[in-house]
Symmetry: D2
Subunit: 435 residues, 4 copies
């Protein structure tokens, strides 16, 4: 591309004069461009250089990308000695200007590079994909983790909650967005456009997503909602093909039955909590008859935990055997045992840090939800039987309680649970267990 040639040329002259030190003879064109972008005064020529770097990057193979990341990791790092020197000056009374020096020195130069690359049109999306490449490299190249910290730092700032936009997703949404909903659905797969339509079009269904203004065609996270009378105990019933939709105004319960993160490249930047709470507020405003906001959530770690205790607990072994049959009739006699052991799992199985073993539980309880109800035969798909012997759970979002619950969960490791769930456990303790 002649534009790159032009820049290669330009660089020649430019770098001799600039205080960048002699360019290493081994520098690749993209490394030259990065150096130029970092040395460009202010915003001058930034957009053009940024665009060129991104177009170089797109054309790279896997090995070149790894090299590029290594370049960022080593050549565009901070200099610890200069940080120490600056920090010492500041500690010794250097005042604001010493602090400014320190802050500048303590930021790896690649951070500024990424910020400048973001000036190009469409760059934000490309940088999110670039980080995804990096995440996939990390297992074999753990030394690149440092770069990931920079991505994460920048993305936290750019994808700040205050910049996100909540949008309704429905059957009037542009098709290019909808196809991404199909693609990104992570909990209960959407098979095709007809399936999608069943989730978006009926009067008792809702879907909401967060978007960022710089990536207007890429949802960041979305939640699917079913409006119901009463709390449903089965996801298959919820998604059944033939069902008759309810009038939204008649419903008293909103069920969050699927929450999917869309951008792997934004891993670690969490949107779910904000999304749920904003959707609760939105639904409450539109549909004043709604009284209850619950999830219908999987219990992904249950079977694994049952397998762990099965040697000592015959009822766990029985459950696993029934689950393996993947057949509701086989499970039917064990329904009560399943509910009881699920309660035990969620309330008592803890990680070393004292928080529950179950990741979905950690997410919702950390958000301030309460463990509201446990259902057997609630997910009778092959996967449902496999991961949790068909059990599913409702977490309840009561906005007036979420702060207290969060506080209790994070500091006291308290799992907020309804009386009903607690009594399951009690029942278990007295009748079902012999330990």
């Amino acid at each position: 591309m002649s534009r790159i040639a032009f820049f290669a040329d330009l660089m020649g002259t430019l770098f001799e004069r600039h205080a960048l030190g002699a360019p290493a003879p081994s520098r690749t064109p993209v490394e030259e461009l990065c150096a130029a972008l970092l040395s460009a005064p202010g915003e001058v020529s930034g957009v053009r250089l940024a665009r060129d770097i991104l177009s170089h990057y797109r054309a790279m193979g896997a090995d070149e990308r790894a090299d590029f990341f290594r370049h960022l990791a080593t050549e565009l790092d901070l200099d610890a000695d200069r940080v120490i020197a600056a920090a010492t000056r500041y500690r010794d009374g250097g005042g604001p200007s010493a602090l400014a020096d320190l802050c500048r020195e303590a930021e790896p130069r690649r951070q500024e590079l990424l910020r400048r690359m973001n000036q190009a049109p469409g760059a934000t999306e490309e940088l999110v994909r670039m980080r995804l490449d990096l995440l996939r490299l990390l297992p074999e190249a753990p030394e690149l983790a440092a770069i990931d910290a920079d991505f994460q730092h920048l993305f936290s700032s750019w994808f700040n909650r205050g910049f996100l936009v909540l949008r309704h997703i429905d059957w009037r949404t542009p098709a290019n967005i909808l196809e991404k909903i199909i693609e990104y659905e992570a909990v209960h797969a959407i098979n095709d456009w007809d399936d999608l339509q069943r989730r978006l079009r009926p009067s008792d269904r809702r879907c909401f997503a967060f978007f960022h203004p710089a990536m207007p065609e890429e949802p960041l996270i979305f939640v699917e909602v079913a409006l119901c009378k009463g709390t449903p105990g089965s996801v298959q019933a919820l998604l059944a093909e033939g069902r008759t939709p309810l009038a939204a105004a008649d419903c008293d319960t909103a069920v969050f039955y699927s929450i999917s993160n869309c951008q792997e490249g934004l891993r670690g930047i969490s949107f779910g909590n904000s999304l749920i709470k904003q959707v609760v507020e939105e639904l409450r405003r539109d549909l004043p008859a709604l009284r209850r906001f619950v999830t219908l959530s999987p219990v992904p770690g249950l079977s694994r935990w049952l397998a762990g205790i099965a040697p000592d607990r015959p009822e766990a072994a029985r459950l696993l055997a029934a689950g393996a049959a993947a057949d509701p009739e086989t499970m039917a006699p064990e329904v009560q045992t399943l509910r009881r052991l699920t309660a035990e799992y969620l309330l008592q199985a803890r990680r070393p840090d004292g928080l529950p073993v179950d990741p979905v539980a950690r997410f919702h309880l950390g958000n301030g939800a309460l463990l509201h109800e446990i259902h057997a035969l609630a997910d009778v798909s092959a996967n449902g039987f496999r991961q949790s012997c068909s059990a599913m759970v409702n977490y309840l979002y009561d906005l007036s309680q979420v702060e207290t619950n969060t506080e209790g969960f994070l500091t006291g490791k308290v799992v907020a649970a309804s009386k009903k769930v607690q009594s399951l456990l009690a029942q278990g303790s007295t009748t079902g267990r012999k330990s």
Copy 2:
């Protein structure tokens, strides 16, 4: 407000348990809220706390605000000793995790606080205003400069070129935006709605502004453009009331006659260069007949410079005297002298760092523009006579030259100028000056 009472309460319990150290008895409610927001895990309850802090801030008087900033400066600073320790660990081979520690330690905690405050709806705009309060305090409280560095760092990231949206401003623009154009115009004041209409409605006028998605009703910067045949040499002619508009398609020259920054709270975050270049591209696409993109710019430092040299240079003294009359006829005989001295001023009057004394010149030349033409009797308003004896200047934006020009200006301190302007100087050297 009872919500604050609730939090005060919450804080009680919360802070005892949290590792925040004992809350100083003297902490104000807003300081408590800040501590709570910083200690809130992830996004939990952030929006609510952020909103409360901002509403507290809004209610504060000037003294309380100064206290609040002092709190940010002292209590929410970084700890230089911890930075040194972390930097030492990293230097000594601590790897990515040591780097992560270092980056965290080296960021003043108030930065994270500001990021979290930004989660509240409308917060970005309020934070920009908050920084404006700070900027106004700085002259008397220079120790707060450290905070300003944090604001500037965050704003650079948030108001990244990649996030800005260019919008046409015309007579179809909502009135609430237009009234801000009237308010923010900084170069040639807009007197009222009729005056505004004369700048926006005619077929040969354009206006463009940058907006940020989180502040959709607040322009960040805007530029007013006149489409002309040939390069105009008088702003009064450009803005005359009775003139007959040209058909846009017939024009060959676009004149940027006014560029105004709108948000004082974003001082130091520069948008002008990007705006001009994007507007050039936009206009070129819409109106292929356009051949020339120039400014019609003031020369704000000219009279001051003339006063400086007047003791040695009788022609400078003559010009100042004619300027003081603020009357075109008086100035008429000096027109050639005025043009020549303006050329000398712009090409030769330099700051210690070698760049031109004139701030407008520094801006456009730094953007890569070329000094194209100098006009006498070009701004015959009282202000025009006062600041530059009525002289104005065209800077030419030729996108194919801007990078070279910028490079030459910044590294070689070269002022790119047309032959015509250079010859003015030559003429001056030989005939007009005796030194």
Copy 3:
């Protein structure tokens, strides 16, 4: 214009072959174009001919326009003999095809011409203006009234209620729409943009307009609304400059204090009734606390009526004298008399057809409103004193009563009035009058 030359040419060939009869030698170019447009098969070349006719029309002076209308009136009329023949065939059992012939014959050909002219972009607006030209000609050229019936027939169909769009007008509305609000306000003049802002921006003000999709920048009619606590009795109080706005949610009364038709060219196509009712529904949905929807209306015919009865009724003469002073203090002692006579005027002064003399009363009562309250010193402007001695009136819109009221008004000539207003009259009968 060469395109017209082209058509003139085309016409030559075209008309010889077409069954249009020999073109009269005196036909003007625009008449030729009209003939061509009418003879064009289907939509073929219609847009182009329509555009040409409209551009011809725009260029015409007043006399040419009158000639053009005369051409429509005489040459493009229906043929009564053919109508009679077709009607006879249909009466005598000709069936659907005879009916189709009849309908075609009974429609003046200019109607189809106008329909075809409407194919050109922007034509609807131009046809509305064309009718306005016609309306202004009618007083001197009553024979053209026949054309006006065709315009009215078409406009009734095109501007059918089902095609209109209700839009909020506020301070975020584009300036080109707002300047039309200033221009078209017919009841209480809007002096400038500041005055406009006072009517649109405060939290307790609303404005709504009907638009037609083919004229998206031209309001058809708009209503200005003040939200109040209680029913106001003075328009000056409502529009006062210094007042403190109320929170909309606290208001219990919506006051329609100004309704303006914008398009004189749509005279006779009435939108006001629909507008008021749709705005009532809109406001009720948004602001459930609203309990009362009233107008604050002028009484334009009062002074004239008082003058008529003054010879026999000394109190009427007194009122007129006090009104002539145009001074609240002079009127103060007569307040009760003024209210009583206003009640008498509105309830008892009738036209030969039995409906009230007052045109504003006819409008609102015909819409189903009820005469709710009468205020003295309610419009203390010069105009207010002149037309109604400062009296104004509230008409109440209670949607559950409007149909009954309309029915009663139109068939039984009943003026629906509150007890309070009726008692004014009673009071008058017994105490204030001696007849």
Copy 4:
């Protein structure tokens, strides 16, 4: 429904007083509502009555709908005697007021009813469906044709070209619109969403539709366009799954390969001509490299015509036999014969009125297109072989010629054809035929 009860009640009182004559005892509720709507003064209560009539109509079965239409046909007709009387008065010098009477008398009262029904929200769409019901009834109830004339008259006015909006249809279009594109495609069926995506998403595909503002989610007609280099001769090649899209800017030819009317209820209101011409203008503006605008059209009547001449023309019989094999290899030797006979069919096979037998030819030639090229093996689907032995045709739209062509076609019955097509025929005359 109680609202209807309310009206039934209201009607009781209302009709006694109104000059509607005694209501026939047999009137159904919806007939009462129609009478009420027609008698309602101005717009009063119209919306409500209109809504009720439409909701009644929706609930009707087929027989009731037929009764409803019969009611419109007989009870709400015009009165021929009154028309004759009015026409006579006008002929005898009655002037504008006599003309107004005549116009009113000569319009069947159901027309005003339909206009008033259109005031209800969403009514336009329902009236279009109502006419579709009527069209389906017509074959068995030809006496209802009179009503259809009224529908057609109103729809011509409402769906005037000037009110239609052209919209791009692409992969960003809302899904609820796209599913209608799938449903309404009438030429080359769209199998599913993937197929749709292949027609909308590639850089060398376009789709445009007309919409009416009162039916914003219902396309009226749409055209699918392929951008090509050169004129394509096969629809299968155009729609092939694996093909590599071209850059739009490189294409020189736009091919209209499918035009579908969407609303059967708008039969007889023609949009296709306007659509094609406006799309040509739109494409020309966006893609200046486009030089040629052609269709790739079916020849639906070809096989039928071949069958008619086969007894006398052995080559026609041969073609039909090859076509019946529905196999390209079998057809290959006959390619030249097929092209020749297609030319003969399109140029020479005429209806009694002198216009071509082929309906697609009549449409495009009537629009002013020219028969540009004939392709064998151009549609090798089963249907393609069946209806036209695989032949397809390009009609060329040259906007500078369309008016002349239309004129020649409609008045002189001239089929505009390229030299190439004409030479096919000549070749046929001399070598292929023996007559």
